[in-house]
Amino acid sequence: MNGTIEAPTIEYALLAPMLVVFGAAIAGVLVEAFAPRYLRSAVHLPLTLLSLAGAFALTVWQAVKGVPTKPAAMGAVAVDGPALFIWGTILVLAFVSVLLIKDEEHFVGSAAALPGSAEEEQSLVERAAHTEVYPLLLFAVGGMLLFPASNDLLVAFVALEVMSLPLYLLCGLARRRRLLSQEAAVKYFLLGAFSSAFFLYGTALLYGYAGSVDLAKINLALGSVGGQDTLLYIGAAMLGVGLLFKIGAAPFQAWKPDVYQGSPTPITALMASGTLVAAFGALLRVFWVGLGGLDWDWRPVFYGVAILTMVVGAILAITQTDIKRMLAYSSIAHGGFLLIGVIATGSAAQNTAALSGLLFYLVAYGFTTVGAFAVVTMVRDAGGEAWHLSRWAGLGKRSPLLAGTFAFFLLAFAGIPLTSGFFGKYAVFQAAVSGGALPLVIVGVVASAVAAFFYVRVIVLMFFSDPAADGPSVVLPSRGTAAVVGIAALATVVLGVFPQPVLDLAHTAAQSLFVR
C-alpha cells in the first residue's frame, strides 16, 4: 500500500435511507437550537415521522429496484437483501414507537431538575419538555440501520455506539419514577460501554489476525492464515460478547430486566423491538459473513448460549411481579429462540430457510412487543403506569377490549397457533430441525411450555380474578397509542393467519443471503 489516497466512491442512492434518517436527526438538533420552545414539538413530530416514512419508502424502492450484489461505500456498508428487509422492519417499528413517544406524558420536563425539587415543579408548570427526544431517537434509529448493514467491524463498532449512546440518554428521561429511570440509564450505560469495549478488543484481535476489519477479507483469511488461531478464537469470542450483550443472551442478559423496567415505556418498546432486530442483523452478518468459514467452531458455543438463554429467560420470568420486567425476561427467552435460528446454518438452501425464518420471527416479535408495551402505557393509576402485576387483576372485567388485546399479544408470545408468534417459532424450529439441531428445538419447546405459564398467569389475573378495589384505570389512549395497539394487533393476527406474503418477502430477502 503506497501513500496515494484515491477518493472513495459512495453509492449515495443505496445509503439514502440511512442518510435521510441521520439528516433528519441533524435537522432536529438544529430545530432544538433555533426554533422557539413552543414550536419545537410541533416541528419535531412531523419531521421525525416523515423522515422515517421517507426512509422506508426509499428502502422499498431500493428493494424493488433490485438488490445490489456487492457492498457499497468501498465495502464498508452492505445493502443486501437481509439488510433491506431489516431496515424496513426497523423503520416501521421505529415509526410505531414514535407514535407512542408522541404522548409526552412519558418524558421528564427537565432532566436536570432534582426529583421532587422546586425546579421540577416549575418545569411541570411550564409544561417544559425535552424535545431532544426526537433527534436522539432518530440518531439511535440511524445507528440501528447502520449496525446490521455494516460490512466491516469498525463501521459496526461506530454504528453500535451511534445506536447505543442516544438510548442511554433516553433511558434516563422517564417522567415518573425518575430514580429508577436514572438508575436504568446508568446501568445501561456502564454495562453497554463495558461490553462495547469487548467488542472493540475483539475487533482489534481479528484485525491482528486477518490484517483487515473487512468481514469479507476476514472470512478469506480464515482459510489462508494459519498459526494464529488463538488470536482468532479469542477475538471472535470478544465480538460475540459485544453482540450477545445487545441481544441480551445469557450470561449477558443481566442488564435487560433492569433497563427495560426503568426506562420510559416507549423507549423500552423501541429497544425491545428495534435494537433487538438490529443486533440480530449484525450478529448474523458478523458470524455468517465474517466468520462463516468458522461456523463449525462457533455453532457449539452458540448452542450452549442459546440453551442457557432460553432456560434463564423462561424460568426467571415465572416469578416476576412487574409486568415490564416480565416482558423483559420474555424477550430474553425469545432471544434464545432466535439464536436457534442463527445456529441452524448449513447448505445455502438451509441458510436461506433459517435466515428467512429468523427475519419473519423478528418482524412478528417486533410488532407484538411494541403492542404489548403500548398496552402497558395505557394501564395507569395515581403513580403513573401500573407495573405491578397484582394491579392488573380483573382488568378483563373493567376493560375487556384492552385486556383481550393484551391477552392476544401474550398468546402470540406463547406461540399459540393462529398468532404471528406461532409461525415465527415454527419457521425457526423448522429450519433448526432440518439443520439437524433437533435437541435445541426440544429444549426450545420445553422452554416455551414453561414460558407459556407466565403469559397464562397474566391472563388468569386479568380475566379470572376479581378486580382490586382501587385498581388501575385504563386511560383513554391518545390517538397515537391507540393506533400503535391497533397496528400491532392487526399485524399479529394477519401474520398469524396469512403469513405467506411476509414469508415470501423474507424468503426473497434471504435468497441472496448476505453479500460478501
Binding site: 440509564a185 475487533t203 483487515s212
Partner: protein, 98 residues
Amino acid sequence: MTTHYLVLSALLFAIGGVGVLVRRNAIVVFMCVELMLNACNLAFVTFARQNGNLDGQLIAFFVMIVAAAEVVIGLAIIVTIFRTRRSASVDDVSLLKY
C-alpha cells in the same frame, strides 16, 4: 517484538476490566472502561505495524472520537444521578433488582 505491546494492551484491558468490577465510584468505573478502549487502541496500532497497513492507526482515531462521545453522554448521566443521590457510588443504584 510486537508481542510485548500486545501483552501490554492485554494487561491494560484486563486492568480496565478488573477496575470496572472492583471500583465503586461511577466516574472511576467509567475511566476503567476508557482504559479498556485505549488498550484496544494500543492493540490496533500494534497490529497496524505488524500487518504493515495504516488501517489500525486509522481505527485508533475513530475509537478516540467514539470514546469522547461516550464521555459526554456518560458524564451527563453520572452527574444527574449524582445530583439526585448525592453519591456517585454504583452500589447505591440498586433499586432495580430480582
